[in-house]
């Protein structure tokens, strides 16, 4: 199966290891991966801040980069969710709206693609740890993807998955929200970290770079001994 990787700007800048894990997991499952070079950023920072025109610039770039693809897969529920917003972003421009719709229709978040398109729930991974999982808001509510990460993690050998209280509450990232509303974001991420601590997990797993960067950034600042990993890193681990 031919898969175009949309790696996200955050992973390209900060999480190259996650990007490599995504490639290796998908290849092991038989996908042929290509990397469209025109890709940059989904445009969400501008879109969510109200800068529609600037978001459209980013979106046009991405649509052009990916419209030849068969499947578009990205290790971020939020960025996948933004692709789904593209048709609405061009609601007054039929040509771009149609192109946007075509791209949106073939876009999948990484775990969603593995479970729902490839039909795989056990990727043969092994990772010994007591972990908890952070359900990111956009994956849950924009993509309505609640099950795939749990199905995949449930089949990771050695991984004990612990419940996380108030898992449905946002971690306080929210893109530019994290820098625009610092005092509020701080309280939100602190509550999230507290719940992670209370879960007694040694490691927090998530499927979205933004949430990870926020929660890990706070955990590290506070010097807490909790590891934070992207789900691709877990799924690419072997005995």
């Amino acid at each position: 199966m031919k898969v175009s990787l949309f790696i996200t700007c955050l992973a390209e800048l900060f999480y190259q290891d996650v990007a490599k894990d995504v490639v290796e997991v998908l290849e092991r499952l038989g996908c042929e991966i290509d990397f469209p070079h025109g890709q940059i950023c989904c445009g969400q920072p501008a879109y969510n801040s109200g800068y529609r025109k600037d978001a459209q610039k980013a979106a046009r770039q991405m649509i052009a980069a990916f419209e030849e693809s068969e499947y578009i897969v990205t290790p971020s529920g939020s960025c996948a969710g933004m692709f789904k917003e593209y048709p609405g972003l061009f609601k007054e421009d039929k040509e771009w709206r149609d192109r946007a719709q075509a791209v949106a229709d073939k876009t999948y978040e990484f775990t969603q693609f593995i479970v729902n398109v490839l039909g795989v729930e056990d990727v043969g991974a092994a990772y010994s740890a007591r972990a908890t999982y952070h359900t990111s808001c956009h994956m849950m509510r924009l993509l309505k993807e609640n099950e795939s990460p749990f199905k995949l993690l449930g089949n990771v050998k050695g991984l004990e998955l612990l419940p996380l209280d108030n898992s449905y509450d946002c971690c306080g990232f929210g893109g530019t929200f994290a820098v625009k509303m610092v005092p509020i974001s701080e309280q939100m991420v602190d509550e999230k970290v507290r719940h992670v601590e209370e879960s007694t997990a040694d490691i927090l797993i998530a499927a979205d770079g933004g949430c990870l960067m926020n929660i890990k950034g706070r955990i590290d600042r506070k010097g807490k001994p909790i590891e934070v990993k992207h789900i691709a890193q877990i799924l690419n681990s072997r005995d």
Binding site: I7, I40, C41, P45, N48, G50, C137, D169, M181, P183
Partner: protein, 477 residues
Amino acid sequence: MGMKIGDKPFFDRVDDALENDFMRNAMASAQDRLRDKKLDATERDDQIGDWEEWRNAGEEIRRHTLENLDYYLDQLSENFAAKGGHVYFAKTAEDANHYIQEVAKEKNAKKVTKSKSMVTEEIGLNEALEDVGCHVDETDLAEYILQVGGNDRPSHIVVPSLHQNKEQIRDTFQEKAGYTGTEEPRELTAFARSQLRDVFLEADIGITGCNFAVAESGSISLATNEGNANMVTSYPDTQITVMGMERLVPTWDELDVLINLLSRSSVGQNITTYVTNLTPGVEEDCVDAPKEFHLVILDAGRSNALGTEFQSALHCIRCAACVNVCPVYRQIGGHAYGSIYQGPIGAVLSPILGGYEEYGELPYASSLCAACTEACPVKIPLHEQLIRHRENYVAKQGKPKTGEKMAMKAFGVGASTPSLFQMAVKGAPTFLKPFVKDGSISNGPGPMKPWTSIRELPAPGNDNFRTWFKEHKRGRK
């Protein structure tokens, strides 16, 4: 006092809120309890069928009603007046207050009782009535608590006194109302009952808000638990009901659906204890009903939303389900919003009613997590409307900071010019190197400052993914 709460700038209000530990604990525990109760009464209640279908039904009814608002308001007012009621269409808060003042003067009214109503908070009716010599008693327990306390304002549209704990309420009652009991809610409640019973019976005018009006019969529906709305509408000779112009349904069939959505979404009940439906035209010799019934239908900025992307904000039935799941409200409570309409719906509604000058920052007080949209029983796309507000704020009405505008312009260019982005990706490790310690940045320069003020920023990786991928592909061939 009106819709606005306090005069401080937004971030000062947020700071005040974040220092108030009791309030914050109260918000968190109230949210947790209300969330569970709501889920039990909605998605988890298998007796009522598919909750999603109920939401669809609610949305469908609200959409049709708002699309034909002029028609149904016409029908409502004609039916209300045909039965002897008096209808006043008020363009502004001042118009509404003036009309009600005139009624009070004509009746020579001194004592006014009120059941819970956010719309009368919005227009500052109590002060207007005091200006013409009326004494106004709030009778909903939460509103009573706020009123006894002096100048306190609502922090939640369903439970306005949510920010006060029982000890605070005890102290207020002791200091201001001669209470001598303990902080037990049962005792505090009994005190309010004893204080208000005669007040109800002696009032000259009873004033209510309106959960829904029914167009086909000219009726007003009030949903309460305490029985105070029944008291307020049974004993005074004159009843005045104030409604936001969007709060109506075509017929009694639709009333059923919306009362169900409201009761379950707001407080997790299958129906509120009282749903009281009042229509003018009581018999001459009726002893426990008002002789005169006035209905004030208020615009006060609502029509700004009609025909715009915000029209569905008027579908709101004021259940506060969005407030009860909002992670931002959870941290800052209601007063920080600076409006009696708080939480996600407050951040959508307040700028529509009061303008961007006053409330333009509220749409940014959201992480766009979409919990609100998911919770809304009439499916208002709240988080999307927050983005639409931000777009308006940026494009015309508001005053975004120039730095932000430039940054976003640069973003637009950077995010559509691959070579520039690659320069940034490749340059970032070198540029940020002086700030990196142990693979992490604790004190970032310029635009990274707000981020690193409370968190670490990962150091940009030295590996280039595109280079790796090229080599990786070559290796696989």
